[in-house]
Amino acid sequence: MSHLRPLHLAAEIGGPPRYDPAHYTGLARLAERGALDFVTLGDSFARPGPDALAVLSRVAPDTRRIGLVPTVTTTHTEPFHVSSAVATLDWVSGGRAGWCVDVSTTAAEARLFGRRPAAPAAELWREAGEAADVGARLWDSWEDDAEIRDAATGRFLDRDKLHHTDFEGTAFGVRGPAVVPRPPQGRPVTVIDGTADAARETAARHADVVLVRATTPERTAEIRDDVHRRAAAHGRAPGTLRVLAALTVDLGDAESAPEPGLESGPPLAGHGTYYRGGPVDLADLITQWHRTGAVDGFHLTPITPGRDLERIVNGTVALLQHRSLFRTFHPGGTLREHLGLARPANRYARQGARV
């Protein structure tokens, strides 16, 4: 008789060995066995690692249900290419794609491209918002039934169901339409870390899933409420956002740690609040936080993926399932279905219907 909203769980699968596809496939399958909503793979031009979107595309045929969410930076990339690649990940995975929008703030990253100097985070997040916006417009630029294959008239397409995006932003413009037809989910899931001030407005406006890093349920709820308020100001129903607490976890070797607990600030390179404890302690923490209604779920970044993800799935998740707080299988096929998010209506088709 829980009045609680369903619990959502996601896990990061980055870390060494970074260039072995079997490593990623193994972790994604493990997360899939735990019925997690999705796995993420972090990415940056600033440190060693492969292209995350390509890695998760490699993982797609070897998995069936798990959502696949690579980090994709928007600062030095082309929004048109990015939208095509994310849509293609959705096609090759049968509707399991998302993208975690990020920005590249450092001078070192700017020098790798040589096109412009490093810019303030607030400016880059505005641009990231434009990239998310034009991405969604490009995904909508083919109506779902644009391909007609009408032998009688010789027409493969119905051009009335294709739309130029005609997007003019502050940093770029995209004429459109997309070359990739509308992906299976309509729009792949957009994930943004909304903890920092600079990113929060963009997250509230464009994200389906907002990640929050905080050390207490109270602080998390504050940020969530702020995200909800801002989302509403943009005409979005807050119920269509999922807010996940982001934790970096070190599960050690025991079922419970002598003094489990959270630390603020990332002592290691991971993102998220740092949690140390056993898998049972983590299940307790998740249960408590979720019971307060502060969050819709958790995004967990294992300190040592091979060890910690195994302990998350076989320990923490198993316990949450035993407590009937988490599902034991994926009832749907797409990432949107796992998250309980509707397939978005096509903005252009809606316009057409109104006329």
Binding site: P50, S57, P61, G173
Partner: protein
Amino acid sequence: MTAAPKQLHLAAHFPDANNTTVWDDPRSGSQIEFSSFEHLARKAERGLFDFFLLAEGLRLREHNGLIHELDVAGRPESLTVLAALAAVTDRLGLAATVSATFNEPCELARRLATLDHLSSGRAAWNVTTSSDALTGENFRRGGYLDPADRYTRAAEFVATARELWDSWTPDGTPRPFAHHGRHFSIEGEFTVPRSPQGHPVVIQTGDSPEGREFAASAADIVFTRHGTPEAGRAFCADVKGRLAKYGREPDDLKIMPGVAVVLGDNDAEARERAAGIRLQQVSPQNAIVALERVWGRDLSSYDPDGPLPVSDPEPASAPSRGRVRHGDSRAVAARWRELSREKGLSIRQTVIEATGRPAFVGSPRAVAAEMAEFVATGAADGFVLVPHLIPGGLDDFVDQVVPLLQERGVFRSAYTGSTLRSHLGIAEPVWKG
């Protein structure tokens, strides 16, 4: 002891989003679902092909200011599909067409090196350029790149990518790089170690003098349209003749024309089938559009089964955008009129005749013999097959022709290596640290 006959190379091209694909055939499937790519790639691998090539689309074509709706359009992004195909194939080379005009070296070199790691050494990059302002409207830099700069940028792009691929030592230590050139001024640390092939294989497409020079200096494979024996021999002689000045041997560059193959139980049946496919590819509506592309004005009142316009094309008009345009439209029109008059062809028949891809048409035995002859006489090193059907378009060739090529001793009967470079018989580039 006689020398072993020259070995030919085979590749497959997922058919372009245009009228090389026949979409109104009952056997025609999706051009976008992953299962179509998987079927074609697995079949190519069963046929022991060297590689599988995907094209790129960066803007839908337009005609008379409207999106062109007659042909297959819409396709997924190449590198992402190929990364997924790496999971369902083991040996097949995976080649992505990616523009050197609308990308940046650091990002693209990283994506290609990632694909090489994910596929254990099977990645290839088909380098293309674009001078098309229409396509540019989708990108930050946008606009028009002067035709001469297309190739200087592409050449510097490839050279820069190679510097990036060489920036980690073979034992896995990243080293800072710096490249300061005309088109790119970049420095820092590349994020991906040297990949299994050292450098992904580089393919060049395009036939201009600049393109040929670029191929001779920088490419491992040329994907060409020269599909007749005479044109093939002339092209091979020209491009291979340019290699020496770059310190390269003729075998360092493989020349592979894109070809169609149509099989039948006998030659007559194959010819009839080939004619039927061309009629499907060039519908009456498509014939008129093809004509308007050359003549530069509305010809919708013309009967596709009637004669060509007698007047000359409009100068400098462009009703059709988003693909490489005919160079000199007056010269093309004159050639088409000549063809039509000589053979007594209608508009549609002329377009069919003038725009066809080189094709091998015949019984499996005749096609195998012709292909072997082609390679033996120096007209090509192999072929890139362009099937007209998705997803089953390679089935007959792999089942019927490949065994005959093997019987003749001109094609491998097993992969001897696991990387694309090993299939092609080209060496890993020397590390220039």
